[in-house]
């Protein structure tokens, strides 16, 4: 039997936070224990109000060498940034 506890990635949404942020990882036998340990380790000083735990194995990450091909083209697509339309003053606030 595999005896090493799996690794879990921990995400916390802060008191006034809009979204969950990755704060670190920990080992636990199951999700319940991961939540309990995350509460003790990562929210002891009121850091958050909501915890997500995800088994690290379930995460697929992009590769750092893809940086160029993945993100560069968005710069050239000006039509994605609709900040240049002239709206006549008569129309009012839009």
């Amino acid at each position: 039997m595999k005896t090493e506890w799996p690794l879990w990635e921990i995400f916390i949404r802060g008191q006034h936070g809009l979204s969950h942020r990755h704060v670190g990882s920990l080992h636990a036998a199951d999700a319940e224990m991961a939540i309990k340990n995350a509460r003790d380790v990562y929210t002891r000083r009121n850091e958050g109000v909501s915890i997500w735990v995800v088994e690290a194995e379930a995460i697929t990450a992009s590769s750092p060498s893809d940086k160029g091909p993945m993100y560069d083209p968005s710069e050239s697509k000006v039509y994605r940034h609709p900040s240049f339309f002239d709206i006549p003053d008569d129309v009012g606030a839009m």
Binding site: T3, E4, W5, L7, G24, D30, M33, A61, P64
Partner: protein
């Protein structure tokens, strides 16, 4: 410093001419101040040095719970006991963050733990000294955590991203600990003559071991240069030690305690204190396993690991069973 005598490649700094194109590109990223992340290419020596340093740092947090845990049941007031408990709990968390950071380099926590338990990996020399009186809790917080902060604040800018982020978290809590320790020392130094004598005795015993935490003198530190070129390490051992002495001596003066060093003297020319070197022979003996508590510390960790095996296995078996039941129900 919580990581001592970390062996890098064993050679000096790699020269530009000896670098492969990958090595050179990597060094350029380091020089530009870029953070290295787990999926990035890195030289094998960089990876190994970091596993040793972060692993050793994590082990130090775990073993460091023992000298302080020694006084939990005997803390003199309920308030002090609660503070000490919270502090030891923080150290466990620091170990956890650091093992997490080391694991991003492709080694597992259990593997590192086994290496600690059978002596293949080290932990900080300081935790091989015994805590003989309550005042030692003050001295450990003030001096040992103080020395740790001195070393860890620059490490917040270290080149490996996960390590630098762990340091940012840890430094915040570590400075709580230093203040707690100094508060104990203040109470004792300004208390009865017996309390003051205990505080002085604790300072006498922990002063030089604290100076040793920064590692050997620069002239004997063969692995520092490569670590500094890779920005794993930001300052030399002697620089940090000097800074620590300059900051700590006025605090001892404030307490009305005497630093146990005949040669301690303000040097106006360099704008810092002159002080005696610690006994390096003692330091190397402690690292070799021959300090006052080395055997006890490792025995305690080994016993916890061995006696806890059935609990770890039981929790895993239970988790497997629950998972199987859930899959069957779907």
């Amino acid at each position: 410093m919580y990581a001592q005598m970390v062996k890098s490649t064993g050679k000096g700094v790699m020269s530009r001419a000896d670098m492969s194109p990958e090595d050179a590109a990597f060094q350029d990223r380091i020089d530009a101040g870029e953070k290295i992340e787990p999926k990035d290419w890195m030289p094998e020596g960089y990876r190994k040095t970091l596993i040793r340093q972060i692993g050793q740092h994590a082990h130090s947090e775990i073993v460091g719970q023992l000298p302080e845990g020694n006084w939990i049941t005997r803390a003199p007031t309920l308030e002090r006991k609660a503070i000490l408990l919270a502090k030891v709990q923080d150290e466990a968390g620091h170990g956890l963050y650091l093992y997490g950071a080391a694991e991003t380099l492709g080694i597992s926590r259990d593997e590192m733990t086994r290496m600690l338990l059978d002596g293949r990996m080290k932990y900080s020399s300081i935790f091989n000294y015994p805590t003989l009186t309550w005042a030692d809790m003050g001295a450990v917080g003030w001096l040992v955590d103080g020395a740790a902060i001195m070393n860890q604040v620059p490490l917040q800018r270290t080149s490996f991203g996960p390590y630098s982020r762990a340091m940012i978290r840890i430094c915040k809590e570590e400075s709580f600990h230093q203040r707690q320790g100094f508060d104990i020392m203040m109470k004792m130094a300004k208390g009865t003559p017996q309390q003051k004598a205990m505080a002085q005795d604790a300072l006498n015993r922990f002063w030089f071991p604290s100076l040793m935490m920064f590692g050997p003198s620069d002239k004997d530190s063969v692995h520092s240069a490569q670590s500094m070129a890779w920005r794993i390490k930001m300052n030399t051992n002697d620089e940090l030690r000097q800074k620590f002495v300059d900051q700590t001596v006025p605090q001892a003066d404030y307490l009305g305690l005497r630093v146990p060093d005949e040669n301690l003297k303000w040097n106006a020319d360099k704008g810092g204190y002159d002080f005696s070197e610690p006994d390096w022979e003692e330091f190397f003996e402690v690292l070799k396993g021959n300090g006052p508590c080395n055997v006890d510390r490792l025995a305690a960790r080994n016993a916890a690991w061995d006696n806890g095996a059935w609990v770890r296995d039981g929790l895993m078996a239970h988790a497997e069973k629950k998972r199987a039941r859930k899959t069957a129900a779907e």
